[in-house]
């Protein structure tokens, strides 16, 4: 190892939460001067925990920290981290929209520029100007943060991180430290063009700074990193130095997801291959476009068919899913459901009336945690549990509500004392089952699945797949968006490969398995 280039080394870091969850297991990473270092991994792989240890949010259980070969204590809070030249730009909630650019840039740093209680505005603006000139940020200092494009907001945030390190180091009198800026999923909200803009900025700043880039978007990691660390389940599983070796996207993907998994359990199964050819087309998507996210998306979905939108994060697949169930508005294109064209500007409730439902694995998102199971089931199934004796008002039948919920609890083997049990007390898998159970009962024509099994254990996963496959057999069409290729292999009849917001290719299930070596 070239000691000249080494800036920071964190050795054998372990961290356990609540004595149970092993978030990090003896992870060692090294940051060199003037590089973009990527740390990649799935949700829950330990990336964020590692970064929070580096900036002093959490103390590690064990481990050592070296700064240019010299052992130093771990920072106990973000201020100490700043003095060591480490700063972090969080994924979201970092920007305060109603501050002017220079106010935001100096937020929390005003103390040094105050004389007799008066803020020295001229001095602040002068420094801001020179910093922006130096870093190449082009924006009007007097405008408000929310007026800036998202990519420029990120740039200002990064400039702020660099500035606060400089001011903190100025105190301790060690001016030659190269700042390390940690970027936590900085590109998540950005469109494709904005991402490129941000990366040009980072490449430019690399001359004087080092970046730790936390992400799971593989193509951009490959394109802009000097080195890559892969974390999985709290362990360091791979390290690639891109100046020395070449890595393919597929290899990186496999390292992130891991080889040994539940898919082997399904290996022998033949999963409800729908004889979808010849069945009526239920949804036609024609030239659907949203500028900066996806363009010219065209495909047909038949009754009882499941189509997977597959591609690296940021390829536009989740945006398409969001558009289909009405959370995001498309710019142009056509949507035809059951031979009737519907407005591309619909909202979730009007989409559901057309028969498009949505199921996500993020239970917090669509489950009402403090409600009993039965209420969570009835929220989309009121038609089934109301009686209308007077024709004008629909009266809920508590008996029907209970029977309906009990049917689902029994069918999906949800472990709960009764249907009056509040959902927060259930396990992750059971929560998911309640979520999917309500749609099983509702049976929409089309169900949009977004990460349907995220964060649940193998057994519960199997149950969820079983329910989804049964729904498919009953003629419900599905569109799947996920991070897991095996999920596509289990559920989908066709897989649409996407990249940079465009459809690249259409695979059948068999072709897909072959390509992914499943």
């Amino acid at each position: 190892m070239d000691i000249q280039k080494q800036l920071l080394e964190a050795k054998n870091i372990s961290k356990t939460f609540d004595n149970v969850v092993r978030a990090l297991d003896a992870v060692t990473i090294e940051v060199r001067k003037n590089e973009i270092l990527s740390v990649v991994g799935e949700n829950g792989a330990g990336k964020s925990t590692l970064m929070k240890i580096l900036v002093g949010v959490y103390p590690p259980d064990s481990g050592e920290l070296y700064h240019i070969g010299q052992r130093i204590p771990f920072p106990r809070n973000p201020i100490e981290a700043l003095r060591r030249g480490i700063s972090i730009v969080y994924q979201e909630r970092g920007v305060i929209p109603h501050l002017k650019v220079y106010q935001f840039l100096f937020l929390g740093l005003e103390e040094k520029f105050t004389r007799l209680g008066r803020l020295q505005l001229e001095k602040i603006i002068g420094i801001a100007k020179s910093v922006f000139d130096e870093l190449g940020v082009r924006c009007d200092l007097g405008s408000y943060m929310y007026e800036l494009p998202l990519s420029t907001q990120k740039m200002v945030e990064i400039a702020r991180a660099i500035l606060s390190i400089r001011l903190a180091i100025g105190d301790s009198g060690a001016p030659d430290i190269t700042p390390i800026i940690i970027l936590d999923e900085p590109t998540a909200p950005l469109s494709i063009e904005e991402r490129d803009e941000l990366f040009q900025y980072l490449l430019n700043l690399k001359k004087n700074n080092s970046f730790i880039f936390v992400s799971h978007i593989i193509p951009e990691v490959m394109k802009f990193s000097d080195r890559i660390y892969v974390l999985r389940d709290g362990k360091l599983v791979a390290h690639h130095d891109l100046s020395v070796e070449k890595v393919s996207e597929e290899q990186l993907f496999r390292e992130i997801v891991g080889r040994v998994s539940y898919y082997e359990l399904y290996g022998g199964h033949e999963y409800g291959r729908a004889e979808a050819e010849g069945r009526p087309i239920i949804l036609s998507v024609r030239n659907l476009t949203k500028k900066g996210y996806y363009q010219d998306i065209t495909f047909d979905l038949r009754e009882g068919e499941c189509i997977g939108l597959f591609g690296p994060a940021g390829c536009g697949k989740s945006e398409i899913a969001k558009t289909l169930y009405g959370e995001l508005l498309a710019d142009s294109g056509k949507l035809i459901v059951d031979n009737k064209e519907i407005s591309i500007k619909g909202e979730p409730h009007s989409r559901l009336r057309r028969g498009i439902g949505y199921f996500s694995g993020e239970t917090g998102k669509e489950l009402f945690l403090y409600w009993p199971i039965k209420k969570n089931v009835s929220i989309v199934n009121f038609e089934k549990i109301v009686r209308s004796p007077l024709k004008i008002v629909s009266v809920i039948s508590f008996k029907a509500e209970k029977i309906l919920a009990e049917k689902i609890v029994k069918k999906l083997r949800i472990k709960a004392p009764s249907v009056d049990t509040e959902c927060y007390s259930l396990s992750g898998g059971s929560k998911q089952k309640v979520s999917v159970g309500k749609w099983l009962e509702r049976s929409p024509k089309i169900l949009i699945l977004e990460d349907p099994t995220i964060g649940i254990d193998v057994g519960a996963r199997e149950d969820i797949y079983e329910v989804l496959l049964e729904m498919k057999k009953n003629g419900i069409s599905m569109i799947l968006v996920s991070d897991d290729p095996k999920e596509y292999a289990i559920l989908c009849d066709k897989i649409v490969l996407m990249r940079d917001g465009k459809i690249q290719k259409m695979y059948t299930n068999e072709e897909f398995k072959k390509v992914m070596e499943l």
Partner: protein, 330 residues
């Protein structure tokens, strides 16, 4: 605990459901406690039939102001236009009586419904914060009421023709209480027997999730304001009769506090998502019992009562928000 309860469900179904009721509505403890305290300190005054009838009347007035707005508070918004609807609705009854005769009392719920519609549409479409919006509404309507009184040169806006409403057909049950019953029945029905109650709780506790479940969030927000206005209008008939077939013509902020106090004391958090009109009814009873009991206690200056009530509301809000935080972490 739930295991024990379930076993109990086989043997003592009545006890279990009673326990569930009390556990779900802490205001019941307060009511029982207040009843015990006051009937042991001043039994002959507190338990006299005259006082109990007064409690029922005051309960009717307080709950009629608060039951409707509870639906809006479930959303996490707030509706304080009830003062305005109550005051100016009465002025409208007075103004229209010469033309419509006895039917003019029905202008109350219609007027409430229209104000609710206006509030709801403005809140949802123009995204105006509900508190400011409905407070301004109350200010405008209260002003208009005073204005009507001033230009017509009378002291009160009284419609003596409704005097027959003041006679109760049932002994011991005062007529304002009987007139409040339809409003109570409608609100309970809406909350528990239609999907409206569930939808409003859904929007208040997880708006994103409500959207994903296919609920037309904007529509139900407007509906909540409409039902709020309608129920306040309908309930105001009871207050109108209670005050001697007239409406209030001067604005009193303590009446505004009364409605909110009933809601918060009953256990519907201002953040929305849980509770409902049934709790507000209990809260109204708590409020009335405290007010009534303190009034009877020797050594309590009646002039200070409003101060005590204000302090009580402050305390209730603090405790309620604490309790809510605990629930969110659990």
């Amino acid at each position: 605990m739930s295991g024990n309860l379930r076993r109990g469900a086989v043997t003592l179904p009545i006890l279990t459901s009673a326990w569930r009721l009390i556990r779900g509505n802490p205001a019941i403890w307060a009511i029982l406690g207040l009843l015990i305290i006051f009937s042991s300190i001043v039994p002959e005054r507190f338990l006299s039939s005259g006082n109990l009838i007064a409690i029922l009347k005051n309960f009717a007035v307080t709950s009629m102001l608060a039951v409707g707005p509870t639906f809006v508070i479930l959303l996490g918004s707030i509706d304080v236009s009830y003062m305005g609807i109550w005051m100016f609705g009465g002025a409208l009854v007075w103004l229209l009586y010469p033309y419509l005769g006895l039917a003019s009392i029905f202008i109350y719920p219609i007027f409430g419904l229209l104000i609710g519609l206006f509030n709801g549409v403005l809140h949802v479409k123009a995204k105006i914060p509900s508190f400011i919006l409905t407070l301004a509404m109350t200010a405008v309507l209260a002003f208009l009421t005073t204005y009507v009184r001033n230009i017509s040169g009378v002291l009160t806006l009284t419609v003596p023709a409704y005097n027959f409403l003041r006679e109760s057909p049932i002994p011991y049950l005062p007529s304002p209480f009987l007139l409040a019953l339809p409003t109570i029945a409608i609100s309970i029905f809406l909350m528990f027997f239609t999907k409206l109650g569930t939808y409003l709780c859904a929007i208040g506790s997880n708006e994103e999730g409500a959207k994903l479940a296919g609920i037309n969030v904007e529509k139900y927000k407007v509906l909540a304001f409409m039902f709020s206005g309608f129920l306040v209008g309908l309930g105001s008939i009871a207050i109108f009769v209670h005050l001697g077939n007239q409406t209030r013509v001067d604005f009193d902020p303590s009446e505004l506090v009364r409605g909110l106090a009933a809601i918060v004391l009953g256990g519907t958090p201002l953040a929305g998502g849980m509770g409902g009109p049934h709790r507000t009814l209990l809260g109204a009873l708590v409020y009335v019992l405290i007010f009534n009991g303190l009034f009877l206690l020797p050594g309590v200056d009646p002039n200070h009562l409003k101060l005590y009530i204000g302090a009580l509301l402050l305390g209730a809000v603090v405790i309620a928000s604490k309790a809510l935080k605990g629930a969110l972490i659990a």
